[in-house]
């Protein structure tokens, strides 16, 4: 290892700051008593947004490089993904403030921050060792978060299921890593990429083993079984976090591992696993949307819908099989993730407030929401129309880029699958909105009070959803370079 340089420190600046924030929250947890504890979530959120700003200003990678003896890669993919995780966690913290048994617990925010550190490292790791450690840091923190309200049976059960599925899949992936190491004789992803051969059945099998672990994070078919149960049972802010940031982290790993270690930029080696990814994407999307049609519980409905959304993003990734479209395909994945994260957080923010007021997660609990809180029903409208892909909201632009990438890559049949699925999805999103706007209010229902942190978070999220749907170029143009810079 060479001498320590400024860039070494800059590259892990967000993680250092996050560690400090985590310690600060734990100290405040011990010292603050009484009403002021409500501010724990606000402190965490402000800290996370400040770190996001710090990251954006100071850690923009002038050039891609491997750091810490090849452990980490400092490049645009890691930079953009870090911002997504930090912002998503910031909103999650704001949306947790009023949740019973959760919002005033310093440990909750500390573990949330630990999960963010794990995700940041997932996006940046360039070595099997680092990747495994980062994945496990994220997973272990997420198990704790899902089971946090362990006195409630549902939460404990969610934590247990999440844990068993996660432990098994990560072990299968580790075995895949060991074979990859045996194949290449190195643990560095970038060196592994140079030894991968085209059309080798062994590579396909190894790719399947690795995909088990990544697929668990993405919650794609056939590794999605845990997600509806965990989404329903976990505390709702945790569900929001797992369904957005954790999924995005999975995609960060997917992009780097399959583009670099499995040499996805080379079509010959990509043919080892691309057909597999394509079929997974199609089945995931269709299955997610069809099952979502029958759901009565809003958290389960969003669970299946988020399975479908992961399928859309995976479809975009399969467009790398056409050489000129590769950069666009990767950009479409990342842009879609940004829009999906913002939109889903908005939806879960509304669900947290309604569920707290009504005490139920059923779709029926949303009857006549527009009479009980105009603001909340507006946020719900923005979120669900964006999920359904209606212009001028972010979800539409995200889907549009995927559609264009698929068409340009001559994958017309996939583009049609995407369009048909979007229609099915739009149907059940509109059904929910119908309940919100056209059903009579239940007897004795009162106006829903929205406290300041929630008002700030939901307003910012809605503005974000609109901004990413209207002002596109400043965000999209930089991320088209991710593909070139990751290589």
């Amino acid at each position: 290892m060479t001498d320590f340089q400024t860039i070494d420190l800059l590259a892990i600046l967000p993680e250092i700051a996050l560690t400090a924030l985590g310690v600060l929250v734990l100290v405040l947890d011990v010292t603050w008593r009484g009403k002021i504890r409500q501010q724990l979530g606000v402190v965490t959120a402000v800290g996370l947004f400040a770190i996001a700003a710090l990251t954006a200003v100071f850690t923009y990678p002038a050039e891609s490089q491997l750091l810490y003896g090849g452990m980490m890669r400092h490049d645009l993919l890691a930079f953009v993904m870090r911002l997504i995780f930090l912002v998503a966690a910031g909103f999650t913290a704001l949306l947790s403030v009023d949740v019973d048994n959760l919002g005033r617990r310093g440990e909750y925010y500390a573990v949330l921050i630990a999960a963010v550190i794990g995700m940041n490292l997932m996006a940046a790791s360039a070595d099997l060792i680092m990747l495994y450690l980062a994945l496990e840091t994220t997973s272990i923190s997420a198990y704790i978060l899902a089971g946090f309200l362990f006195n409630e049976e549902r939460s404990a059960e969610a934590g247990m299921k999440y844990f068993l599925f996660g432990a098994v899949t990560s072990t299968v992936m580790l075995f895949g890593f060991s074979l990859l190491f045996g194949f290449a004789g190195t643990t560095n992803l970038y060196q592994i990429g140079t030894t991968i051969q085209a059309n080798s059945l062994a590579i396909t099998v190894i790719a399947v083993l690795v995909l088990v672990g990544v697929g668990f994070k993405l919650a794609v078919f056939p590794f999605h079984f845990w997600s509806p149960d965990v989404y329903e049972g976990a505390p709702t802010p945790v569900t929001a976090f797992i369904s957005t940031a954790s999924k995005a982290a999975g995609f960060a790993v997917l992009l780097r591992v399959f583009l670099i270690a499995f040499d996805g930029t080379n079509l010959q080696s990509a043919s080892n696993w691309l057909p597999l990814l394509t079929s997974i994407a199609v089945v995931t999307t269709s299955l997610g949307n069809l099952v979502a049609l029958t759901q009565k519980n809003i958290k389960r409905l969003l669970a299946y819908s988020s399975i479908a959304h992961a399928g859309y993003a995976l479809m975009a990734f399969t467009a790398i099989q056409s050489a000129p479209v590769q950069a666009e395909a990767v950009a479409a994945v990342v842009y879609y993730l940004v829009t999906y994260v913002l939109t889903n957080l908005t939806a879960f923010g509304v669900i947290i407030l309604v569920a707290k007021n009504v005490g139920s997660d059923d779709v029926a609990a949303f009857a006549g929401l527009n009479k009980r809180s105009a603001g909340l029903s507006l946020a719900m409208l923005v979120a669900f129309l964006s999920l359904g892909g209606i212009p001028p909201l972010a979800g539409f632009v995200g889907k549009f880029f995927i559609f264009m990438a698929l068409v340009k890559a001559n994958l017309l049949w996939l583009a049609i699958v995407l369009a048909v699925n979007s229609l099915i999805a739009l149907y059940y999103y509109l059904l929910v909105l119908n309940v919100v706007y056209n059903r009579p209010v239940a007897e004795g229902a009162t106006e829903i009070q929205v406290s300041a942190p929630y008002r700030v978070a939901l307003t910012a999220l809605c503005v974000g959803v609109v901004v990413f749907g209207v002002i596109i170029a400043p965000f999209y143009d930089p991320i088209t370079r991710i593909f070139d810079l990751v290589k």
Binding site: Y143, E153, R154, M160, T171
Partner: protein
């Protein structure tokens, strides 16, 4: 010397036995033990390949995996205890609070 492939085949067999354990057993603690068996098999493959390449980084990775396993066991067993306090059972067929 023992050929590396012997170790890899043994590791594959142990890994598969662990996977079968996860699939057929219903008790959370036993499933968890089967997961540890799978982890152990993956470690064995790493060490065998490390010997073959004369590369110590495979061994370092195993060291990290063992540490992670320790952390994972602590959390997993804590969750098992929490479930048991709620339900007086750690049979995963009894985890049916969440279904739809």
């Amino acid at each position: 010397m023992i050929p590396t492939s012997y170790f890899i085949i043994l590791s594959a067999i142990l890994f598969t036995l662990g996977a079968i354990g996860v699939l057929v057993r219903r008790n959370a603690i036993v499933i968890f033990m089967a997961i540890e068996l799978m982890l152990n098999a993956a470690n064995l493959a790493f060490v065998a390949f490390a010997r073959q390449f004369g590369a110590e980084n495979g061994q370092v990775l195993v060291f990290f995996v063992m540490t992670v396993a320790a952390a994972e066991v602590a959390i997993g067993l804590a969750l098992i205890v929490a479930i048991f306090r709620n339900k007086q059972s750690i049979n995963i067929d009894d985890l049916h609070e969440l279904k739809g």
